[in-house]
Amino acid sequence: MTSAIALRSLTHRFAAAGSAALDAVSAEIPLGGISGLVGPDGAGKTTLMRLMAGLLKPTAGSLSVVGLDPLSQGAELRTVLGYMPQKFGLYEDLTVEENLDLYADLRGVVGAERKRSFSELLAFTDLAAFTDRPAGKLSGGMKQKLGLACVLLGRPRVLLLDEPSVGVDPISRRELWRMVTALAADGMAVVWSTSYLDEAERCAFILLMNAGRVAYAGPPADLTGRLAGRSVQLTGIETNRRALLGRALDAPQVMDGVIQGSRIRLVLRAAGDAPDLAALAAGPAAALVAVAPRLEDAFIDILGGGPGGHSGLAAVMPPVSLPEASRGAVIRAEALTKKFGDFAATDNVTFSVPQGEIFGLLGPNGAGKSTTFKMLCGLLVPTSGTASVLGIDLGRDAARARQELGYMAQKFSLYGNLSVLQNLTFFSGVYGLEGRRQAGKIDEMIHAFALGPYLGTTPTDLSLGYKQRLALACALMHDPAVLFLDEPTSGVDPVTRREFWGHINGVVQKGVTVMVTTHFMDEAEYCDRIGLVYRGQMIAVGPPDALKATAATAEVPDPTMEEAFIALVEGHPPVAGRAAA
């Protein structure tokens, strides 16, 4: 037996007439090493995981896991299977030890073996000091480790981990990866599902999925190898890099491009066929440097290339003109603090954002970036300190300030049972647009985002990409001077994410000021400046390149954003008065 898991024309539909969550998937996942199940939300990752765990019945086709059929040989499979679902499967009101006891009994780990496994696993997961703590009171990273310990009881031969790194800070993520790598080295077959392509790049084997189909199966290096010579970095840019990126993406030789701090990263359609820098007006000091291709480049290549440089939105947005006095600090936080009981979710945070800047709040879940963000757009009242937008104090006059800002929430906050046109009409109405001006603005947005064919469709039936377009259109109806984006692209495929940032780059050039929260490290590179939020405090503020430079060492001269983040957090002294969670 050479493969751990074999999929043969595996198809799964949730409703008989619905579209397939998995569409005739055939692949062999090998034994040994960590196998990544990779793709954006809705690619079919969780469905495939559940089929492998015997929790769903395939509509057509078949599969075998270590030679067993998950349904007809389910009882046998479950004795050798460890499956950690997305929410870790822990009982929050049971303590660490009680959770372990339960799963040990369920998996038949008793007597001396149980004692040995417990001490081994508690040491392995570093949880020995917390056995009496209820699982609900553990941090995201500790929950994840406890979840892993529970599935490792009884030494499974197959380990299925469904998006284990969601909602976990980079340090815990790195630690988990190290633990699972050790398990895989001992011969355990591990399937790790993720929507982070940088994580997938470290797997021995990946099954890259998109819209229920396999886009690629094999070692990630073989896939990135196809792009040899096509990834380049544009350095020495002295002109506006956002405008330059737009021009570069429109060049016929360029397939994809992103901003990386002060530089631009491009993927060419063919190796060696670079666009003419003079024609792009890149400036005299500009130069192209070859860089190593990434998995994301390859995924975009498979999906048919990025969306190009033209933003229909930027074409219709009027330029923002602000009074001289407020240009220097369009958004301002002064000693901003929010306490929930004696827990400071945001602790004495001060910064300001000038006009036309993209400012990113970066940090793990629960670090306090959402709380800070919500105070700045008037959704939460600070305990102390002030938050202001265009000089308007949000604590005093939130209603007037909100009229000046656009807000796009994580889950898009669209009305699922109103049509696209009704959503546009509603949101423009809420911002006080009426009559001819309202009709004109709705028309503009329909053209800018190509929503024409979908006006009668409800958002529930739209693809993620179109939902995102509609949400952005609704947030910009009233031509706001400031745009707040709360994790706008989580779970979205890279092409849709490119398109989104194309629009943001466009509106910023019109003078709109943008504040964005994200936990995607590469997304942070689009920002002019980043504020790193950790345990309620802003531990570092600066341009992405400057933050990376502070983390540079002799061993790692050019650290990634994630490495910089970990270095900055680890160098930060623990804050007194906060739970050690």
Binding site: L55, L56, A75
Partner: protein
């Protein structure tokens, strides 16, 4: 499909222990099992009282004769009435309109002479507030009763006992004082068992689905039987503990007599819990969502148990189609059995009928739940 794995006592015990720890640590379970019953018993034991004791009644005496004075004294002495004397009609009518009194009695000026002449109809005018029909009936029947008693006494005293005069003595069996609390309190135990059995269980299993723990459990070697039993047993124990608390409160605090056997009470409660737990499990298995499960159990279990079980609203006075529906409500049989056990003790034929239906219903709901529970998510 079969599980293929054999039943394991170790796994069942582990699951039961987990469930018990969750019950003990979740304040809402404890509130539902022990605080809510006390609150409900208080409401049904004290608040809902179908006996109208001491109704406020106005009295106007226009006849100054000895007989009229004696009758007024009897009225005032009645434990069921709180009489208020008025000197004129107008203020009394105004008091009735304002709701200060619920009815009034007028002894007209010719009361004595008409009584002496033995002429019918009885010269007593009774007016009651029809806005509250129940109370109005009480006023009318209390005054009539007092009149009949008084007339009998008068006749006996005057030593001119007329032939054919009958003395009616009413006697209520099983509930001699006809205290409504004595049948409402036992009935409310059925309501409490419905809340614990159906509503609480439907919530906790839906919660396992919502929090994703069900997915994790299903990926372990747990069998379907173990899973179902681990949900039934702890909540059964919780419900029985709550039932015993209710019985203790009913007997001690509310002085409701308990004439049956505790063993039979356990048997009937267990059978009823079979249906209630079955409904709760079934709903949460089907909805997998706490909000929907709560809504569904409210409509499927709680409301029928309140409205159609005969515990407050008498089934005999319902329209025929509704009466037919009550035969399908398990709570009807449990309420019937509870009222029998508390007030009458052992009545074989009634209890046998309840036993048969409760057993059938428990088998139906538990069977359906077993049928609908799969070891899969789809």
């Amino acid at each position: 499909m079969t599980d293929g794995a054999s039943f394991s006592v170790r796994r069942l015990l582990a699951l039961c222990r987990k469930e018990s720890l969750q019950i003990v640590r979740d304040p809402s379970s404890i509130i539902i099992a022990f605080v809510l019953p006390i609150a409900l018993l208080m409401i049904y034991g004290y608040g809902v009282n179908l006996d109208a004791s001491r109704v406020r009644v106005g009295v106007l005496i226009e006849d100054s004769g000895a007989q009229a004075t004696r009758f007024a004294a009897v009225l005032a002495a009645s434990p069921y009435l709180e009489t208020h004397r008025y000197a004129a009609r107008e203020p009394m009518v105004a008091a009735l309109r304002s709701g200060a009194i619920r009815g009034y009695v007028v002894l007209q000026s010719d009361f004595g002479t008409r009584l002496a002449a033995g002429r019918s109809p009885a010269p007593v005018e009774v007016v009651a507030d029809g806005a509250e029909p129940n109370t109005a009936n009480f006023v009318a029947s209390y005054v009539q009763g007092i009149w009949a008693t008084w007339a009998g006494q008068e006749a006996a005293q005057s030593a001119s006992v007329r032939a054919g005069s009958i003395n009616v003595i009413a006697r209520y069996w099983f509930n001699p004082a006809a205290v409504s609390r004595n049948f409402i309190v036992p009935g409310s135990i059925a309501l409490i068992m419905t809340i614990i059995g159906a509503m609480l269980t439907s919530l906790v299993i839906a919660r396992e689905w919502e929090r994703g723990t069900m997915e994790a459990l299903l990926s372990t070697p747990v069998t379907r039987t173990e899973l179902l039993l681990s949900k039934i047993l702890p909540y059964y124990v919780l419900a029985i503990a709550s039932m015993l608390l209710c019985v203790a409160l009913a007997v001690t605090v509310f002085a409701v007599p308990f004439r049956g056997s505790l063993l039979l009470l356990l048997l009937y409660t267990s059978l009823f819990l079979g249906s209630a737990l079955g409904i709760g499990l079934l709903l949460s298995t089907v909805t997998r969502n706490q909000f929907n499960a709560a809504q569904a159990s409210l409509n499927v279990a709680f409301l029928p148990a309140t409205m159609l079980s005969g515990f407050v609203y008498e089934i005999a006075s319902m329209p025929a189609p509704l009466r037919a529906v009550t035969y399908l409500i398990p709570a009807r049989y449990f309420v019937n059995a509870l009222q029998t056990l508390f007030q009458a003790g052992f009545v074989g034929r009634i209890l046998l009928e309840d036993l048969v239906f409760l057993t059938a219903s428990a088998a139906f709901f538990l069977g359906l739940t077993a049928l609908k529970t799969r070891r899969r998510l789809d």
